[in-house]
């Protein structure tokens, strides 16, 4: 147990910018609109995935983030998905709530669960692996580190995509890491914390 795990790669999406590792790979300074940001990011990465258009914004964020993280990589079939956020699916919850009395849509209701993002990513990459969605007030590096390490130590996963996917009042904050045996950055609570807080300024 306690094998040598590494933060193989990470992605951040915040303030109209997308980073792969420490490198900014997409930015959109003019627009303030979440939908157009998501659409333009999708286009700029040449993603061809029609299901994207059906997703709610939280799932779009997660789908773009994992695309950045996993593109070109041979994906381990036992890549577990360990996600967290604070607001759960509250943005879509409000849309569903406001539609009550006017006609509720099953295609909205299904997104009133935070773990739908795990389902979307599992479908996209054919991952029949372990999933867990945790709720914490802020990004909890200890929680994500602990549980990811447990899954790897107990052989419940071969690699793990883990982190934070938050969307609240159209403000978004995404930080996902791929954890495997490859890479230079050792997988520790402190390194997770530092990378989460990293700003290219």
């Amino acid at each position: 147990m306690n094998r040598d795990y590494r933060i193989t790669n990470f992605v951040k999406i915040k303030n109209h910018k997308i980073y792969k590792g420490r490198e900014q790979i997409f930015s959109e300074e003019r627009s303030e609109d979440l939908n157009s940001f998501l659409k333009n990011a999708y286009s700029s990465f040449n993603m061809s995935y029609p299901k994207f258009y059906k997703m709610d914004s939280l799932c779009k964020l997660g789908t773009i983030a994992t695309e950045v993280l996993l593109k070109g990589r041979k994906i381990h079939p036992e890549t577990a998905l360990v996600f967290s956020n604070s607001a759960s699916s509250l943005e879509t919850d409000k849309i569903h709530q406001n539609s009550m009395g006017k006609g509720v849509s099953p295609s909205v209701f299904v997104y009133t669960l935070p773990n739908i993002i795990s389902g979307e990513i599992s479908i996209k990459y054919g991952l029949q692996s372990e999933n867990a969605f945790f709720i914490s007030k802020t990004f909890d590096s200890g929680l994500i580190h602990n549980y990811t390490e447990i899954l790897l130590d107990l052989n419940k996963a071969g690699e793990v995509v883990c982190g934070w996917i938050e969307l609240k009042n159209d403000r978004y904050d995404v930080f996902l890491c791929l954890i495997s045996n490859e890479g230079e950055i050792s997988f520790s609570k402190e390194n997770l914390e530092e990378l989460y807080l990293f700003k290219d300024e």
Partner: protein
């Protein structure tokens, strides 16, 4: 590998406010499902397992002034209180609190009788429970659709086995809200009658509300007979976000991995507590997955016709019932079963039976393609 034992537990539901009351109702074939008026339905109402407000308030009054808490919080507090009152020496600084819920206080979005707006956040619900009982560690909150309660037990087991903590108190709960009712109704998933899991004439689910709590530990209890969780696994179908896989892929894989970890085969399993929601697709998917797992002859039940689907509480409630089935050597009937309506053979329990039991399997599946399996083992001292 560290053993993980289940200690005291509590179920708060329309069938009673203790595990004993719940088991007594089940043995007597009593269902918590009743017809409730609701304008969302053309027929004017729907069957659901709802706890009367007056019943909650009466029980709450026995442990203090709980008027500043929501219904769900009261239910969870009652469940935790019951468990802690039987474990007064428990060191809360060595005890992790894990909270499982699918929608938490979501009913506050519709009608908020004066709680702060932020109370709808699951982190606030967790804080309420943590503060009420003065847990010192930050609670873990799991919200993973309808497998949440079972996943919470799996996560608890993993934390204990990885030696992150000695004890875990798992509490789960959800309430019936127009939010959830209208959503399931939009899928045409809600039956206009009490649900009939695995039956040929099943027409969908009923919703229900419950809270439950169980204490888990790595320390072998002093009792001569104990229940352990020996295997756990989850797996995604990678198939569809709102419908189960036709091949039962994720459930099949969850069961396989959980059995492997427990070091048992399908032949060793004496009883299955299935998810059994009563929808056409879910029950069929489960039957396919069980047959693929060579479990088709194992006695099986669904508790959904007693409780309705209690979302993030369901797999926890049903795991507690499974624990007691093993302890009591009893198989509880699957209420409202009227003959198989799935394409694969299923051995649905129709009468209360006494039978020596050693291993049981609990499964659950949910939106987002998630699936979960747990293996329970009865450990008897020589």
């Amino acid at each position: 590998m560290t053993n993980v034992y289940l200690l005291d537990d509590a179920i708060i539901s329309p069938l009673g406010f203790s595990t004993t009351e719940n088991l007594t109702a089940i043995k007597n074939g009593i269902s918590g499902l009743k017809l409730h008026n609701n304008s969302l339905f053309d027929s004017g109402g729907f069957y659901a397992g709802i706890i009367e407000k007056s019943t909650i308030d009466k029980a709450s009054a026995e442990i203090g002034d709980l008027s500043s808490f929501t219904k769900l919080e009261k239910m969870m507090i009652l469940a935790v209180q019951k468990v802690l009152s039987q474990n007064e020496d428990l060191d809360l600084s060595k005890t992790e609190l894990i909270i499982s819920t699918t929608k938490g206080n979501i009913d506050l979005l519709q009608e908020n009788p004066g709680f702060p707006d932020k109370r709808v956040h699951l982190t606030e619900l967790a804080k309420v429970i943590k503060d009420f009982f003065q847990f010192s560690r930050e609670p873990l909150v799991i919200s993973n659709a309808c497998v949440s309660g079972g996943l919470a037990l799996a996560v608890a087991k993993r934390y204990i086995q990885a030696k992150k903590v000695e004890n875990v108190l798992v509490v789960g709960g959800d309430v019936v809200s127009d939010f959830v009712v209208s959503g399931f109704q939009s899928f045409h998933a809600i039956s206009d009658q009490p649900c009939k899991p695995f039956s040929h004439n099943r027409t969908g689910i009923n919703l229900g509300e419950a809270a439950a709590a169980v204490l888990m530990t790595s320390k072998k209890p002093l009792k001569p007979i104990n229940i352990e969780i020996t295997g756990d696994a989850s797996a995604n179908d990678a198939n569809h976000i709102s419908g189960p896989s036709r091949t039962g892929e994720g459930l099949f894989k969850s069961v396989k991995n959980a059995l492997n970890e427990a070091g048992v085969t399908a032949k060793d399993i004496d009883y299955i507590s299935a998810h059994g929601t009563g929808t056409v697709f879910n029950d069929e998917m489960e039957a396919v997955a069980f047959t693929r797992s060579s479990l088709q002859d194992v006695p099986l039940n669904s508790y959904k016709a007693y409780y309705g689907h209690t979302l993030g509480a369901s797999a926890l409630v049903e795991s507690i019932l499974t624990k007691h089935a093993l302890l009591n050597d009893e198989l509880y009937p699957s209420l409202n079963y009227e003959g198989s309506g799935v394409t694969q053979p299923v051995n649905v329990i129709t009468e209360l039976q006494k039978k020596p039991l050693k291993h049981a399997l609990k499964t659950a599946s949910g939106f987002g393609g998630c699936n979960l399996a747990l293996v329970f083992k009865k450990q008897e001292d020589e």
